[in-house]
Amino acid sequence: MTASAWEPVIGLEVHVQLGTASKAFSGSSTRFGAEPNSLTDPTVLGLPGSLPVFNRQALEHALLLGLATRCRIRRESRFARKHYFYPDLPKGYQISQYDEPLCEGGAIELSVGGAQHSVRLTRIHLEEDAGKSIHQPGATSLLDLNRAGVPLCEVVSEPDIRSAEEAAEYMRALHQLVRYLGISDGDMEKGQLRCDANVSVRPRGQSALGTRTELKNINSFRFVQKAIEHEIARQIRVLESGGRIVQETRLWDADAGLSRSMRSKEEAEDYRYFPDPDLPVLVVDDELFEAMRQRLPELPMARYRRYVDAWGLAADDARVLTGERSLSDFFDAAVAAYGDAAGAKPLANWIQSELLRELNRDVRAVDACPIAPAQLAALVRLVDQGAVSGKIAKQVFGEMYRTGAAPEAIIEREGLTQISDEAALEGIARSVIEANPGQAAGYRSGKTKLIGFFVGQVMKQTGGQANPQLVNQVLERLLAG
């Protein structure tokens, strides 16, 4: 059978580390990169007698995610204990949610190859992170519990994903969404977004699902696609050679570019879930629900549509401008300051070609941009009005970025105002023509491209400030006459 005779069926379980200052159930800091075991307290360590108290900010973050993905929010949800023994799990159980999770249903919108696609979500629930075990050569392993207790959202998708490419796109969409909502930086390399993939294949046209395997240890966007592609290919290979897929967990080995079966010592885990008696029912009242609804920003897909449909931007431009919320907010503010939707296209150009270049070179975030949106809008207005030429405007822009000064001030200070006084330009044009009789004759004899030479001379004499279109017109008139 050819590869296209098989249909991949993929579901993703993504853990989102919520960007709170303190941990899910106690006040230790969640700071990344601290000295091992310096961010612990009795509750994190699971010391005898310690108790959990839940972080409001973690709840608010999770609610934003649930609302943004149009989930059903459970007004009364419960924490449950999930039991297993592992050194990075201090209490011998993880506080998680089981049959009463915070959010259910909902979907993530993505566009794959121009087509719009919806991946349904099964659920989103709250839980705490475990610590980190450090594997090393020799007979022992080391443990750092700094990460233990950090709040997580687990986002579980339905097996709606049909290709490795789509899976990667899903991860990108989720990454973008959590950053838009301000609930996580979503940095996969820092472990703020962790992806486990459930992968199976079936003959195209068959409705029954094949046996699935679970793929773990995918820690960058690049590997999401690669690892899943690899697993799909492996499964097809096995099935086509008459073998059967074993339901198992496989670890992705990025260096080797393959996955390995994880043979763990115990049989299938029995997590012995039960409602955590230390944590009464989690209630989301009307006040909190409303407050979170109000807090929802306009989401990337909606902004994209607005930029394309209402402002006529090209798809690629709209995609770039909606990539980060801060950039989109900047763009929206600039267009608003410009006062007219017609400003959208020029502002889009300025941002993409000039602003992003500067920011990227300096590795600066949009929030740290020295130019305010209103100032950029003002610059574009000035170009519209002919007060500066496009070329001079770029110079002004550079100065704005360096100093944070307003464009009007810079133009005034440097005397960069575009010369559009026809009389003045005529005078300069005449002198240039007189000074270059040879080229003038050449032009009049038919070498019309020489106009460029004369334009260049006038621009030079005016320090580049002459209005180029006007210069062109004047020269043509004088040379003709």
Binding site: S29, P36, N37, Q57, S141, S261, V281
Partner: protein, 102 residues
């Protein structure tokens, strides 16, 4: 009901609970658990149709705390209370997630 527990089941539970038991202990526990569980079976006769499980003695909602950072315990103090440590890491026998090749 599982009023009769065989040795395998007892060993299974002991593994789930990470308890090393002697043969004597396993035998004794098998008897104890069987007797206790048989007694628990009396609960099956209670009609609990439509009764919601009681999860907390006094009904209450979860009180939340503000996202404020409190002081942590000093790393050195934390690990020196442990049976084994290296620098400021806890140390345990090697964690093996054996992975075999494809």
């Amino acid at each position: 009901m599982a009023a009769l527990l065989n040795r395998e089941e007892v060993e299974e539970i002991a593994l789930l609970a990470r308890l090393a038991l002697t043969d004597d202990e396993i035998e004794r526990l098998r008897g104890d658990l069987a007797a206790i569980l048989a007694y628990m079976d009396t609960l099956q006769d209670v009609d609990t149709t439509g009764v919601a499980p009681m999860t907390h003695a006094v009904p209450m909602h979860l009180r939340l705390r503000a996202d404020e950072v409190d002081a942590s315990l000093p790393a050195e103090q934390v690990v020196t209370s442990a049976p084994a440590y290296v620098d400021t890491y806890f140390e345990v026998p090697k964690i093996i997630d054996t992975a075999t090749g494809e």
